[in-house]
């Protein structure tokens, strides 16, 4: 398990400043979809009960209904849980040295990247659409001098505020690593 106070390859003087997850509206939307899926068999059952109650009381229809409902319930529960895991395991950890980007894509794909703060060149915050504007969330794109130049973290809450915060931390770290930064810029 990951501990915010004991990160992998943590340096002595390195400390976690903050961690970022996607906006809370994401799990709320997932829960909303889940509740709709839960409501479907309930509505179906009530409809059958009010129109033709014998429909699901036959020797075949009743076992089919029981097994089908159980399968459906387990399937949507697993779908809901996996969607929440996807949300929960996508995280950006900002320390005073680096940003650790952890992205979970489904159950079988996971990416972990590290960005050294002093190598960050540009931080861009974007908010597009009515709902993102109303709930104040959007994308943050970080451009670095490294091989993989772009990192985008989607649906971040308060993206403008967070991008300013990241830039502040980058400036502070760049002062600490001034010599390293200059030699990288000049290529000497």
């Amino acid at each position: 398990m990951l501990d915010l106070n004991h990160l992998p390859n943590q340096r002595e003087f390195e400390k976690t400043l903050f961690s970022l997850r996607r906006h809370w509206i994401v799990p709320v939307a997932i829960t909303f979809v889940f509740l709709i899926l839960v409501a479907i068999p309930i509505i179906f059952y009530l409809l059958v009960q009010s129109t033709n109650p014998t429909l699901i009381q036959g020797t075949v229809s009743w076992p089919l209904f029981v097994v089908g409902l159980s399968t459906y319930a387990l399937a949507i529960w697993l779908f809901y849980f996996n969607s929440l895991i996807d949300y929960y395991l996508d995280v950006w950890i900002v320390t005073n040295e680096r940003i650790i980007v952890i992205e979970q894509k489904g159950l079988f794909s996971r990416t972990i990247a590290e960005l050294k703060l002093y190598r960050i060149q540009d931080v861009k915050a974007e908010v597009h659409g009515i709902i993102p504007t109303l709930f104040d969330f959007g994308h943050i794109t970080i451009q670095t001098a490294a091989e993989e130049t772009h990192f985008t973290f989607k649906q971040i809450p308060a993206p403008y505020k967070i991008s300013r915060k990241i830039l502040e931390v980058v400036e502070q770290d760049r002062e600490k690593h001034l010599d390293e930064f200059k030699s990288e810029q000049t290529g000497v």
Binding site: L74, W77, F81
Partner: protein, 84 residues
């Protein structure tokens, strides 16, 4: 007349349960290995497994009441002749 035992349905259900168990264990493994050491993480695992146990227990209660050994008529020749 073509008939099939009702437990065929139960076999299909068992196959689904195997797949469900595989994906569930993998999801829990993800949370244990990559999740944060927080109460929320443990709570998520507990709620997920708890809900699975409840659904499976309730399902078992209903499944247990059904006679799965009875044969079901899938196709009856007598009824088919009306189409010819």
């Amino acid at each position: 007349m073509i008939t099939a035992p009702l437990y065929v349905l139960l076999i299909l259900y068992a196959i689904f349960l195997l797949g469900f168990a595989f994906f569930s264990l993998f999801a829990v493994y993800h949370l244990i290995k990559f999740g944060f050491r927080t109460l929320g993480n443990f709570l998520m695992i507990f709620i997920f497994l708890g809900m699975c146990v409840i659904v499976l227990f309730v399902s078992w209660q209903y499944i247990n009441q059904i006679d799965w050994l009875q044969n079901v008529v899938l196709f009856e020749y007598g009824n088919a002749t009306q189409y010819f």
